[in-house]
């Protein structure tokens, strides 16, 4: 892997709007070498649009994309491995040929590409099935083959759009190990996912996207520290819940998912107020509690806190 500047990918002020609505309006982040950067956002946040703009597949309306320290150009794409959200392989192809084809598209000779394909397939435990046709592989194995096709040419940067979707826990774990090995060799990874647990387990940094805008970029510990302290409470007595929270120095925020009169609320409390104190306060005011779930400190709590702090995203 040749030496590369610290920031393999840098996106500044990216905007891409679509006629029917949606897209991204202010995206910025960078992907350093030797690190896994999680790209987090709900469906429709603009993750795939950003990745497509980063690779020049979509032309942005505004903003800059810098790949390997230089303005975007098509030849730089050869140094990138890409797993798109819309992915698939030709069913009739053999696993090693499908991977090898992508290697050759990225400039490898046939011999190099097939050798690399065989090596990667061995590594994920599919060596014995390298000559099987894609149609005969399970969905998870076919997806692993697709991920390997993105890595076959030993890229410096991997852009992976939801690489874990459709994989069982064992396959997810194997893939995460593969990514960890890639990082250890100095490669940079941008890894979009819905799975905040997976992001927490492998990512060094995270970029959070909400309603087409970057709402956070930084280390995982920094992001986790932004998670509020409190709980998700399901109740029909919003007034009583609000009064109890206010008495303890906190406040309540509605959470999507109301069921008739029963609604979900996020209770945000000062850090020194423990959950038993909140439960006692609710009990004293005879507030009916249908469910009580402490907010775990971590990316999930931080993400929801940050996303719902944005006026636009709240409206959305």
């Amino acid at each position: 892997m040749p030496s590369a500047p610290a920031d393999l990918l840098k996106i500044t002020g990216l905007a891409k709007r679509f006629r029917g609505g949606g897209g991204v309006s202010d995206v910025f982040f960078s992907v350093p070498a030797g690190a896994v950067t999680g790209f987090i956002g709900v469906n429709g946040a603009g993750k795939s649009t950003t990745l497509r703009c980063a690779l020049g597949l979509l032309k942005p309306d505004a903003g800059q994309v810098s790949l390997f320290g230089a303005p975007f150009d098509l030849t730089a794409r050869r140094r990138v491995g890409f797993l798109p959200e819309e992915r698939g392989l030709f069913a009739h192809e053999r696993a090693r040929d499908a991977i090898g084809f992508h290697g050759r598209l990225k400039g490898m000779t046939r011999k190099e590409a097939l050798a690399s394909a065989d090596r990667l397939l061995e590594r994920v435990g599919l060596g014995a099935r390298k000559n099987d046709r894609i149609a005969s592989l399970s969905k998870g194995n076919a997806q692993r083959v697709q991920v390997l096709a993105a890595m076959v040419h030993d890229p410096e940067l991997l852009l992976l759009d939801e690489p874990l979707s459709g994989l069982d826990p064992i396959a997810q774990s194997e893939l995460l190990s593969l990514l960890a090995a890639f990082r250890a060799r100095g490669g940079g990874i941008l890894f979009s996912t819905h799975s905040l647990a997976a992001a927490e387990s492998i990512c060094d940094r995270v970029v959070m996207l909400s309603a087409g805008r970057t709402i956070f970029e930084g280390g995982v510990p920094d992001a986790s520290a932004l998670a509020p302290h409190g709980a998700i409470v399901v109740t029909a007595d919003a007034e009583g819940l609000g009064t109890a929270a206010a008495m303890l120095g906190g406040h309540i925020v509605p959470v999507a998912g109301a069921m008739g009169e029963v609604a979900r609320w996020r209770v945000v409390l000062p850090r020194h107020i423990t959950h038993p104190v909140l439960i006692r306060a609710l009990s004293e005011r005879r507030v009916p509690i249908f469910a009580f779930e402490p907010i775990k400190p971590g990316l999930e709590g931080a993400f929801w806190h940050l996303a719902q702090s944005l006026p636009e995203s709240r409206a959305a």
Binding site: R77, H92, L105, A150
Partner: protein, 374 residues
């Protein structure tokens, strides 16, 4: 390192070559060529002797006419039987030095054979009456002989082969474009190759498959023609098809026709959401090709009024009608202009097809939802 265009072409080629239907198409070539050659030979060599009659008020002329007919028939490998109620040759003395021949419409001699009869009559008269004024024999204008002329048949065959090859290739091309959509493989491809490379790769790959089938069919025809007796129509057609100027012109026309119709097909395939919609979108194009075929067929049979000769300049018709014209029938400058016009029309279509391959909002090749996001 190989260009993405060639890699994509290779993959498309291998995809089709790996199917059973390809080998069936390939295997059909030799038997079909054999059957065609046998039919062509039968046109030249009827199974039964042809019964004909010579009609003349002058017994000498009738005798000379029979002698001349025997000579011409022998050269054409025919067996004529005089008498009975077959098609007639009427020999009439218009003046002492002028004789008129009138062949019945279905008289079993080619145009050149009929001309030979006239020349033989003139020669024999000159031999008999040395020093006298020469005799002039002319043919009364009659409907063209039903016997096909090898050159015209060869031109028609080259048009037919183009039509068959093209319709087959366009079907394959449509499927290759839609397959990217069905397997959701396009975005991976676009991350490694430019849209024009993908389009060119598909055109070349499918074109290679068609070329292989075409070569197999033509090759087996040429090989089988060596086995049929000389002097018949089949070897004459093969010889015509093998003329370098005809081959070169046909190759140029084939390439332009494939680029023109191929670009339209790729654009239609790229606009489709699935296989069914691709077929619906392509229906008008295939219907046009059927119309084009019948127009070309009518032209070959002389059934198109001169007022429609302008169709030659309409790109949809150009390749087919041009192939039906004998080399040199249209001046080279006009022919070149027509071909340049067709190439010029193909460029914007190809550009449009490439633009359909680029990712854009609502691109049916890529996005399932209306707005690509998330």
């Amino acid at each position: 390192m190989t260009s993405p265009t060639w890699l994509i072409a290779e993959r498309e080629f291998r995809t089709y070559v790996a199917t059973l239907s390809f080998w069936v198409a390939l295997a059909l070539g030799p038997p079909a060529a054999g059957a065609g050659l046998m039919l062509a030979q039968n046109v030249q060599h009827p199974a039964e002797p042809s019964s004909i009659q010579v009609v003349s008020q002058n017994a000498d002329l009738a005798r000379d006419g029979k002698i001349a007919l025997r000579e011409a028939a022998m050269l054409e490998g025919r067996h004529l039987v005089f008498g009975g109620s077959g098609p007639s040759l009427t020999v009439r003395a218009v003046s002492p030095q002028l004789v008129e021949l009138a062949f019945a419409q279905n008289f079993p001699l080619s145009d050149s054979g009929r001309a030979l009869v006239a020349r033989t009559l003139e020669r024999d008269y000159a031999r008999r009456t040395s020093g006298a004024a020469p005799l002039t024999v002319h043919q009364k204008a009659s409907p063209a002989s039903h016997r096909p002329d090898a050159a015209a048949v060869a031109r028609f065959l080259s048009m037919l082969i183009l039509w068959l090859t093209l319709t087959g290739s366009l079907g394959m091309l449509l499927q290759t474009v839609v397959r990217e959509r069905a397997t959701r493989a396009l975005e991976s491809l676009l991350a490694a190759a430019a849209p024009w490379q993908i389009m060119a790769g598909k055109l070349l790959g499918v074109g290679g498959v068609s070329l292989l089938i075409l070569a197999s069919w033509l090759g087996s025809s040429a090989a089988l023609s060596l086995a049929v007796p000389e002097g018949g129509l089949a070897p004459a057609i093969i010889a015509e098809l093998g003329r370098p100027e005809l081959l070169l012109r046909a190759a140029v026309i084939y390439c332009l026709a494939y680029a023109f119709y191929g670009s339209i097909t790729v654009a239609l395939g790229a606009m489709a959401r699935d296989s069914a919609s691709a077929q619906n979108l392509a229906r008008p194009m295939f219907a046009s090709l059927v119309i084009v075929f019948f127009v070309a067929l009518s032209t070959a049979m002389g059934g198109i009024p001169p007022a429609f000769s302008g169709l030659l300049y309409v790109p949809v018709f150009t390749p087919f009608l041009l192939l039906l014209h004998p080399v040199g029938a249209v001046s080279w400058a006009v022919e070149l202009s027509i071909l340049i016009l067709m190439a010029a029309v193909s460029f914007p279509i190809a550009w449009f097809a490439v633009s359909r391959f680029e990712l854009q909002e609502n691109s049916p090749l890529l996005f399932r939802s209306k707005v690509p996001q998330g």
